[in-house]
Amino acid sequence: MIDAVGSVFARIGERGYFMRDIFRGLGDPKTYGGETIRQMRNIGVDSLPLAAIVAAFIGAVTAFQTRYQLFGGVQLSVVGLISRQSIILELGPLLTGLVLTGRVGARMTAELGTMRVTEQIDALETLAYDPIAYLVVPRLIAAIVMLPILTILANAIGVGTAFLTAILATDVTSTAFSEGLRLAFAPFQIVYSIIKATIFGAAIAFFCSFEGYNANAGAEGVGRSTAQAVVIASVAILVLDALTALLLAPYLQG
């Protein structure tokens, strides 16, 4: 029992040291500057089609299901309101985060894990490079910057497909949907979505980089670390989503 508790604290401590190293690496922009753009392309631009497809379907389904959940007498503009709130406040950032955990996080862990087991990271240390500043910090910055960008675009695509679905596949008019879309809107709702996406981006990069950076030897170790990274990052995203809602939701009404 004591060993188990001690093991949990040891794991937390390892991640604490890793975070300290990241902060130390941030002080060396020459090392991570060039790599950051490449990672932003990899994490952001290359993930855009996947994030867009997911957002498009989520927007369409949200609008369609919202329309047919309404009981008689409720204004149809509510479809626009609920679609906007669902997509911007929750589905946009959360699903983009989860999708990117699978696409980007797994790749991040596998890359770093392979570098670890093939001793490339040790080689970087030998060449007096800070491996965290060169390998982890660019990924972290790229994820923190690009996930909100992808989330904004996913939100726009989701709301757009919700609009099209509502007016083409249901009896909701474009006027009613637009009216609901603008009802009770506060600019902080977009900021809230961006804050969530930033936190999720940081979580994906941090947990996936850690698991890859500390992968055990062999192909099996890399595979195990990758699977573990995806699970940890996904759970972390859900937990952080709940915490963000708990802390920031009261401010959504302005």
Binding site: V45, L150, I152, A186
Partner: protein
Amino acid sequence: MKKRDDVLVGIVIAVAVLVAILGALWLARGGLSKGYPLYAKFPWSAGLKQGQPVLLGGVNIGYVDEVDLRTDGTVLTTFRVGKQYHVPIGTTATVVANGIFGDMAVALTPKAPNPISISPGDTVPVGPSGPGIAQLTSKADSIATSVNAITTALNRELIAAGGVRDLRTTIAGMNRLVAQFSTIAAEQNRQLSATFASLRHATSGVDSAKVDSTVKNFREASANMNLLSEDLKQTSMKLDSIVAKVDNGPGTVAKALNDPGAYNDIRALIQHMDSLIVDVKKNPKRYINVKIF
């Protein structure tokens, strides 16, 4: 390759920032145009927030730009109205509920159609506000309190004080009474049926021809009685007339009946007649002298 990465990343970031800004502006204002400002000082803003709609005649013409609680306790509200819209002079502003989700809006209500518009930067007079969610909730709360009091009283009277038990006992008694009444009614019904059967049996023995004849005789007798009655009535009237004539008329009989002198004369005459008869009896020869030759 690196250059291409920079460009792609830059494009994606720029597009996303543009989408965020334009989307937020469209959602908050309905467009890029800021419109012209108008002001209103509300004593109670009912949770009015920046970005909420401004309605003129129910049509969205702008948005709330700023809500500022002043030191004098009033809420100075700045709202932006689209340049294509004009607010007529005499319009009043009120804070109204917009939809069922507690959203609020500024409603501009013109007193009458007026071609002259309020100038940009003017303050719109505040109109009377309708009942808000808070007032409706308060009313519902007071109703709920009353219902609760009634329920408590009913609970006390009907349950705690044994009212329901008494009611049940009464109902059980009523049920027994109704059952007794049913028994009695059934018995009465049976007896009545027997009586009717006996009566039917008795009436079936009567000769209907005789009954008809008797009834006919009764009718004739009744008609005769009517005629007799009429005759008696006429006779009575005639007798009344005669008596009246006798009593009041100028004739001898009336005088004899009504004049006391005549009465006295008649008595005296009778007395004289009596004495004459006595005398005649006594001395017949004085009065009767028969000579044959």
